[in-house]
């Protein structure tokens, strides 16, 4: 399974990704969907991908094969695509539109995507793991290609001519010989023509793309620059109440006494207490705030680990390893063949996603049916959470995801949705709940912290002989070494995290790449080799070599002349089917030891490029986000309290932190497209760390890096 997963370009799921798997109910949604849409052509793509069924065991249990996506062509010619993926800023609404436009031969403007609506879109595990481009885009291509064939056949019948004498351009089918045309919506005569097709139907190869492969601007751009797009916090149905939740003073606190007499006395206020959950709903924000402040509550407190003792705690509480990503040879044999041996430990802090749109939900009950609008990356998982929380069947719950103000892996759960729905059930009115920034920091979840121990051996000529890598708590993504070494073991030890942790852009690949690449630099120095030459000597993977060489070339690595207070660094890595290398130059002022990033060059390759400008935007954004985790971001905590949980106390990258960034894209039209929202972040930290070492002479083995 592991090999098959890798071959299919899938990630190995982190344990926290799938801790609460969604269940069942694909077939109901199929029937409901077919009832909901109007006449026209309806094409569904069956999910038969073996690896996909493997990581979604419920797919294998389903009695009929599930649909991955629908495409509907209405009688007015409108093209609507239904996909369970969601838009959180990665701009898949645009790139998926391009895929459909390419196959269907209609203009992108004529295509509408319905995304992340659990009543209308087929089940989808969620928008994470860079899977939209490699998995959803080909499905939509197949649906669109099949729809085009159906349209041409229908038109051929309609006109009494051969299908191959017809052309489909911009939504009209023409027969050049007789000068007749017909619109694509006019062919079904009020019927619903439904077709399901296999996932392996052929699609247009990248060399012949016409819309994909170009920089189509963001399809929702105008609604955003005019402020018209409504994110979840902007929804305001008539009669809506504002919800607020009473938060404990610390994690793991229990409500020991509760008196809501004063809040109850306020006009229009609804108070809910249900176990450790307590909250209010009121007609407006100010009343809700007053009511919340009027709740008298006491909470139990407990001693909990702080950030100062975190890494000892994680090692002490580690569980036995889960598998071995490399698993070859014997470390002792490898070490005995080495001229130089090295051991080092690397640490990464918890960091926060800080999505600018905080978690929010609008919940509404109608009889026993619950509808929730919420910004989440996993609408179907949120539906499951809601159904379980209220003990109702999933088909009574509908989750809709307005295009969302970012996630970065931070919006996989339905906390705000469940809270808003609990308040709405008591109020019997729609309730909107928008978390404050402080709630975001305290009650969401973090990128896992971790400690990584590396033991290695190298021969004097620079050949790696042994590689032993233990990751405690941070995760298994990107743990596998791409370097050629005969004796190699890379294992992940789950541990007991004092803070709630979960997905983050690229998961643990950032931590693992940081430790691996920093250690590679230390080995290169030990044997007196240039870091680039040392990597290339131990690396046969051609795609990784290609980005490494491309980044070094654009950066001018070999030509760089040492300057006082300046240093350069290089790092490479692969994850989720993408290959990346980063070069960085850092300068440190002698007086105050402040580090300044002078420039960054990053080369990235993810197969055939779907939207060059969109891809550049993602790579640039990942680099900027990576600066924060590399240089400043770290959650401080003590006894279940976050000590720096405000934007004024937690430093995220700003304009003044922006170095000149050069992105080099390698477009491999001969290779399938991989996702790109995550992988470009993984090499930023080790390249900066190495550059910082060059500038200061002090090696930092922690994230965030310390300037020495």
């Amino acid at each position: 399974m592991a090999d098959e997963t890798r071959a299919a370009g899938l990630i190995e799921p982190e344990r926290y990704e799938f801790s609460e798997p969604p269940r069942y109910h694909f077939l109901l949604s199929r029937r409901r969907f077919l009832e909901a849409v109007g006449a026209g052509i309806i094409v569904g793509v069956v999910v038969r991908n073996v690896a996909a069924r493997e990581y979604l065991p419920e797919l294998a249990r389903a009695s009929a094969e599930p649909i991955g996506a629908w495409l509907h062509i209405a009688e007015d010619g409108a093209v609507t695509v239904f996909t369970g993926k969601v838009e959180v800023g990665q701009d898949i609404r645009t790139s998926l539109t391009q895929a459909v436009a390419d196959e269907l031969h209609v203009a992108p403007a004529a295509i509408r995507l319905v995304m992340g609506d659990t009543d209308l879109t087929p089940f989808d595990p969620g928008t994470f793991g860079s899977r939209t481009t490699p998995q959803m885009a080909p499905q939509l291509r197949r649906a669109a290609a099949a729809a085009r064939v159906m349209l041409l056949e229908l038109a051929a019948d309609h006109m009494g001519v051969a299908a191959d004498s017809l052309t489909l351009v911009e939504g009209r089918i023409s027969h050049a010989h007789s000068n007749r045309t017909v619109g694509i919506g006019e062919l079904t005569g009020g019927e619903k023509l439904v077709r399901e097709l296999a996932e392996d139907a052929p699609t247009t190869p990248a060399e012949r793309w016409t819309v994909a492969g170009t920089s189509l601007p963001k399809v929702t751009g105008r609604d955003i620059v005019t402020g018209r797009h409504r994110y979840t916090p902007d929804l305001r149905p008539a009669g809506m109440l504002v919800g607020k939740v009473l938060r404990p003073p610390a994690l793991n606190a229990q409500l020991t006494s509760f008196d809501s007499t004063r809040a109850h006395a306020m006009a229009g206020v609804v108070v809910v207490r249900d176990g450790d959950f307590a909250g209010v709903a009121a007609p407006d924000e100010a009343t809700a705030a007053r009511a919340l402040a009027a709740l008298d509550a006491e909470w139990s407190r407990s001693r909990q680990p702080s950030h100062r003792e975190l890494f000892e705690h994680l090692k002490a509480r580690a569980e036995p390893p889960r598998g071995d990503a490399d698993g070859r040879g014997s470390i002792e044999t490898g070490l005995s063949a080495a001229d130089e041996r090295m051991e080092a430990s690397y640490t990464v802090a918890y960091i926060a996603h800080v999505p600018l749109e905080p978690r929010a939900a609008l919940a509404q009950w109608e009889n026993d049916r619950l509808t929730v609008w919420t910004g989440t990356q996993r609408p179907f998982n949120v539906r499951t959470e809601l159904a379980r929380a209220f003990g109702i069947a999933e088909e009574r719950v509908r989750v809709l995801v307005p295009d969302t103000g970012s996630g970065y892996g931070g919006k996989h759960t339905g906390d705000a949705a469940v809270e808003a729905a609990r308040l709405a059930r008591a109020a019997q009115k729609p309730v909107k709940l928008v978390w404050t920034r402080e709630e975001e920091f305290m009650w969401a979840y973090f990128r896992p912290a971790g400690i990584i121990d590396v033991r290695s051996g190298v021969r004097r000529d620079g050949t790696l002989t042994a590689w032993e890598f233990h990751n405690y708590n941070s995760g298994a993504s990107g743990i596998r070494s791409s370097y050629d070494v005969l004796h190699s073991h890379s294992v992940y030890h789950p541990s007991d995290s004092p803070l709630r942790q979960g997905s983050y852009r690229a998961l643990a690949a950032t931590a693992n790449t940081f430790a691996r690449e920093t250690h590679m630099d230390e080995l290169a120095e030990r044997v007196g080799m240039d870091p680039l030459a040392f990597r290339l000597k131990n690396l046969s993977e051609p795609r990784l070599r290609a980005v490494l060489e491309a980044a070094a070339e654009s950066f001018g690595w070999k030509e760089w002349k040492a300057k006082p207070g300046h240093g350069i660094g290089i790092a490479c890595g692969t994850e989720k089917g993408g290959f990346v290398a980063t070069c960085a130059e850092v300068a440190v002022e002698r007086a105050n030891r402040r580090a300044r990033v002078v420039r960054i060059v990053e080369a990235f390759e993810c197969g055939a490029v779907v939207n060059p400008d969109g891809l550049r935007n993602q790579v640039e954004g990942a680099i900027v986000m990576g600066l924060g985790g590399a240089l400043w971001e770290a959650i401080a905590f003590e006894d279940g309290r976050i000590l720096n949980g405000r934007l004024s106390q937690y430093r995220v990258p700003r304009f003044s932190d922006l170095p000149p960034i050069e992105v080099v894209l390698l477009d491999r039209k001969d290779l399938p497209s991989a996702g790109a929202g995550e992988t470009p972040i993984i090499t930023v930290a080790p390249a900066l760390g190495s550059a910082l070492y060059g500038a200061t002479g002090v090696r930092s083995r922690s994230l965030p890096l310390t300037a020495g």
Binding site: V88, G89, Q90, D91, S215, P217, K218, T220, G221, R222, I224, V225, T226, G227, R228, H229, R230, Y231, P233, D234, R236, D284, E285, A286, V354, P355, L356, E357, P358, D403, T404, G405, S406, Y408, V434, T436, R437, D613, G614, N617, Q618, E620, G621, A622, I623, V624, M625, R646, L647, S648, V652, P653, R654, F655, S656, L658, I661
Partner: protein
């Protein structure tokens, strides 16, 4: 207590029965249904709530509505004129200067305010003026390019 408060927003006058201590952002979003200005942090640190007061950018989340007085409030909804985008809005589209878009309204308002006082800012000046606006998706370079592009169009004078 008919203590109405008069507020001038996007060229319109509103008489509002609100607590003068309520934030301008709260009034815009809750009382006027102008939801283009966003809540991001509530302490004036992220800039997502930026609007112009008599042409100057302010953080509406930390501005009590009672302090606005007769000043003209301009929000993202008031920037477009007769279906024509403000040069900064058009430039954001041309440069692809947004990903999730949640910071965009605040960025555009800060930039529009900058161009009123400094019609041709260089990259460093743009960065300084926008330092209080956070784009978590990291589109900073494109945002700077957008403001430069808007400055080049020399059309600011025609916009209110």
């Amino acid at each position: 207590m008919a203590d109405f408060l008069e507020l001038h927003v996007n060229g319109e006058r509103h008489r509002l029965d609100v607590d003068p201590g309520k934030s301008l952002l709260g009034v815009l979003r809750e009382d006027l249904d102008l939801t283009g200005s966003k809540y991001g942090c509530g302490e004036g640190q992220c800039g997502a709530c930026t609007v112009l007061l008599d042409g100057l950018p302010v953080r509406s989340c930390v501005t009590p509505v009672g302090s606005v007085g007769a000043a003209a409030v301009l929000t993202i909804e008031g920037l477009e004129q007769d279906g024509r985008l403000h040069p900064v809005q058009a430039a954001f589209l041309a440069e692809g200067a947004l990903q999730c878009g949640y910071c965009t309204a605040g960025m555009i308002m800060s930039a529009a305010g900058l161009l009123r006082s400094e019609p041709d800012p260089d990259e460093a000046a743009i960065g300084r003026a926008l330092e209080g606006n956070v784009c978590r998706c990291g589109a900073y370079a494109r945002i700077i390019a957008s403001v430069r592009r808007a400055a080049r169009t020399h059309m600011e004078g025609s916009h209110g």
